[in-house]
Symmetry: C2
Subunit: 216 residues, 2 copies
């Protein structure tokens, strides 16, 4: 790697490089030393811009959250809620490391507040009281987080031949006596580990439940 001249580093450049490495080599293989090597500087050069590895993680997460599109203003509130949830899921699918960044690190940046603001604004405008809006926001956010993380996890597993082989082997070793439903529904279970349809199914259940409590 070519040695970079002085004063060409910046937090933005480091964040961009970190993100690239997380996406090409996987979030688990990510390291500060790897970023430094990619930038052609010593590992300690990064400490001028970030106090430690966690701060860099937070910066990458906030950078990604900044890519979230705004809430569509011209729609009924259930469609607005759907749009916010779908765009968060889409962002996570496009940047799989985001799942780990959201689940593994406490929130601290303004950018996570933007999702909250979008969702809360829609719910308040729909007439829900403060407590219900807050509860609904947390429910929707954690649903998107959980279901999309799972989806990414399962997709990664399908790509890893060894893991996939093991999963198949375990499924086939389950006795139909002890696990009648799992054995019977194996094909359906395999089909519902992810995808737009599965995501929307759960989201629609939540929205249907929510619409029963509509204030107006």
């Amino acid at each position: 790697m070519a040695r970079t001249p002085r004063n060409t580093l910046s937090s933005e450049l480091i964040v961009r490089t970190a993100l690239e490495l997380m996406e090409s080599r996987g979030a688990d293989a990510f390291s500060l030393r790897g970023v430094a090597a990619e930038l052609g500087v010593g590992p300690m050069a990064l400490y001028t811009y970030f106090r430690n590895k966690d701060e860099l993680y937070d910066a990458v997460r906030d950078h990604l959250m900044g890519l979230l599109p705004a809430v569509p203003g011209d729609a009924a509130w259930p469609d607005q809620v759907r749009a916010v949830c779908r765009s968060l899921r889409l962002l996570m699918l496009q940047h799989p490391c985001l799942a780990q960044l959201l689940a593994g690190r406490p929130l601290s940046g303004h950018e996570t507040a933007r999702v909250a603001e979008g969702l809360l604004g829609v719910l308040r405008a729909a007439g829900f009281d403060a407590e219900t809006a807050a509860r609904t926001h947390t429910t929707l956010f954690t649903y998107v987080l959980g279901s999309t993380s799972w989806e990414i996890q399962m997709a990664a597993e399908r790509r890893d031949p060894e893991a996939w082989r093991r999963l198949r082997a375990t499924m086939e070793s389950l006795s139909a006596r002890d696990f009648p439903s799992v054995v019977e529904l194996a094909p359906e279970l395999a089909r519902t580990t992810g995808g737009d349809e599965q995501f929307d199914y759960g989201l629609d259940l939540l929205l249907a439940g929510l619409q029963l409590r509509t204030p107006s």
Copy 2:
């Protein structure tokens, strides 16, 4: 640490020790070398029982999932579903490392199949068709995973004074013009980051939506 004599090691002992260390020192600080030191053996002794670190992770996860209580047989199906979801959440709260073990590693053991079996059995008995049962299972499972992981995350943050200070600082720095809803609902948001009530709120939304599709 006293040197352990030969043939006193076993996979069960290693799993138990690993679990203790994850719970006392935190799942992030967990290491194979730490387990070996605690057992008074060299790091390589563990490789007789587990091919690598991930296999030990899986064994710990399956051990924990084995602690799940059976589904109560004498209840209406929505109550049965509630019971399964609540007991999975409770297990995760009692063993916070389980959240990371479930999210971070592919499933492979029989023990994860037990949760699926319980839930699927209930849903099939209630009259749902194969596809709906599978979709509902995935939705419920990912909701429990996502909401409880988030709850654990937030609780950990509250205990860490530095992280807590930073979160407060960010919340207060949000302008009421750009983030009107977040600023207005800050107290409500703080109250809905976890707890039985918040969990049941989301679960009830899902169940309400589901009951609209009840077959009978």
